[in-house]
Subunit: 243 residues, 2 copies
DNA sequence: CGACTTGTTGACCTAGCTCAACAATAGTGG
DNA sequence: CCACTATTGTTGAGCTAGGTCAACAAGTCG
């Protein structure tokens, strides 16, 4: 194995001796442990709109989103409600006992480094350090989920859209590339943010008109005025916190 | 130790050989493990409005709410926003890296069986089964949090109030006692649900007028028509799921 | 009993929903 | 490559749930 191989890119292609990506889930593991874990976690690639097993059964997928995104939809009767979004770097964890029939769907071409819940449980049982890391991540996600949704519930449409754009703007992408792909249609953005498609459109256009963002195509944007965008999220306390 | 002592009540008073409450966190533990754990977890009693250490530091409290409730508040400048509520039976878990300065406050007289995060981490490291149970609970909470907030973001005021009442109505209380204590003022309910005090009042009164609930005093109610209340939550898919 | 907090109710006002028309894209088959 | 269709996005004109403001009632506590 070439020690200089960039970890962030080449994990998938080296099948003989795979490398774990640089992710907090794998922090502090010994080299040998990491190798065993890396042998279990394999890249899963999904096409746009492809359904990802995420139903709480032992066969469900657990892992880290490497690229693309995973949308969590509730499909009731005729209409789809998107209730969550996992982006690159996020952990797709145990889905727990479902009260709603949420399904995970790939957005864009999506790569997930992972394994089945069953296999993952075995790893957790075998490597206490992994379990510790995992617990930390789930806890952090719980926190993030609280923050995200708590606020959604009391934000205006403008604030919600700004929050989403901000979140997407923080996604890893090619250095110096200012273009952000919203990935989602207006319809899905609205669904995710609990507002209507038309309102999403109006808000995005308003940001463009105000010079806060540049709008290249409906889904391709660039943030021109990050400060204004942060202000528009309405998150007062973020001023104090390290973002 | 008297084997007939009701577990739900007497945990606190028996200091020589404490008993763990019947809670999923302690499922499947051997008797001796349970005894060691029970020796670490002590009842903490808080008065109404008392602040509970819940700041992500090693000294923060981790444990199970036995009675009363814990509100999570963001106190910015002059006004308090309640962003979450833990009721009896809920687990107060690691609070994770805080992005906002949320503080935990006791609502009513509140009893929590727990210990510091530091002590709890030691227990987790020592008892794998406990760690497994804990992970399950945190995962479940993540799920519940998603469900709760996700929906809040897209519910009407009526649906939000119905959802809260329903949740409170499912709290353990004296058998055959139909009276539910809302615990919170209209102001705090509104804050929790992301709506205004006046709207909360209007919704509650509307339910009372419609005969869905009985209103004995502003905070003491009884559910007269559970079906109507469930309908009013607007949770379509709950029909399919075991509640 | 008075002062203070909490709750109720009414009259307005506004953000965002609804409905509707139309524009811009993206496929798709010829 | 174009015409044809379907999807997605934009924009305007009302409408309504819930916010805002304000007055008052009802607890509650010294």
């Amino acid at each position: 194995m070439n020690a200089l191989t960039p970890m962030s890119e080449a994990t998938a292609v080296l099948s003989d001796r795979p490398v774990l990506p640089d992710h907090p889930l794998f922090a502090g593991l010994t080299r040998s442990d990491a190798e065993i874990i890396a042998a279990t976690l394999v890249p899963h690639v999904f096409k746009d709109e492809e359904i990802i097993r995420f139903d709480g059964t032992p066969d469900q997928l657990i892992g880290i989103v490497r690229s693309g995104a995973v949308a969590h939809d509730i499909r009731a009767a005729d209409k789809i409600t998107t209730v969550g979004l996992h982006l690159a770097g996020d952990l797709l964890s145990h889905s727990g006992p479902r009260t709603a029939s949420v399904m995970a769907v790939a957005v864009d071409r999506t790569e997930i480094l992972g394994c089945t819940m069953q296999e993952f449980n075995a790893l957790l049982a075998r490597f206490p350090r992994l379990q510790l890391n995992y617990l930390d991540l789930v806890t952090a996600e719980l926190q993030a989920t609280r923050d995200w949704y708590t606020l959604l519930g009391r934000k205006t449409a403008t604030e919600r859209v700004a929050t989403l754009i901000l979140r997407l703007s923080r996604q890893p992408r090619a250095p110096e590339d200012p273009v952000i792909d919203l990935l989602l249609t207006r319809e899905r953005i609205g669904s995710l943010l609990g507002i209507k498609m038309e309102t999403v459109s109006r808000q995005i256009r308003a940001f463009a008109k105000a010079g806060v963002i540049a709008l290249f195509s409906p889904t391709k944007i660039a943030v021109l005025d990050p400060t204004a965008l942060v202000d528009a999220t309405g998150d007062i306390w973020r001023e104090n916190a390290a973002l």
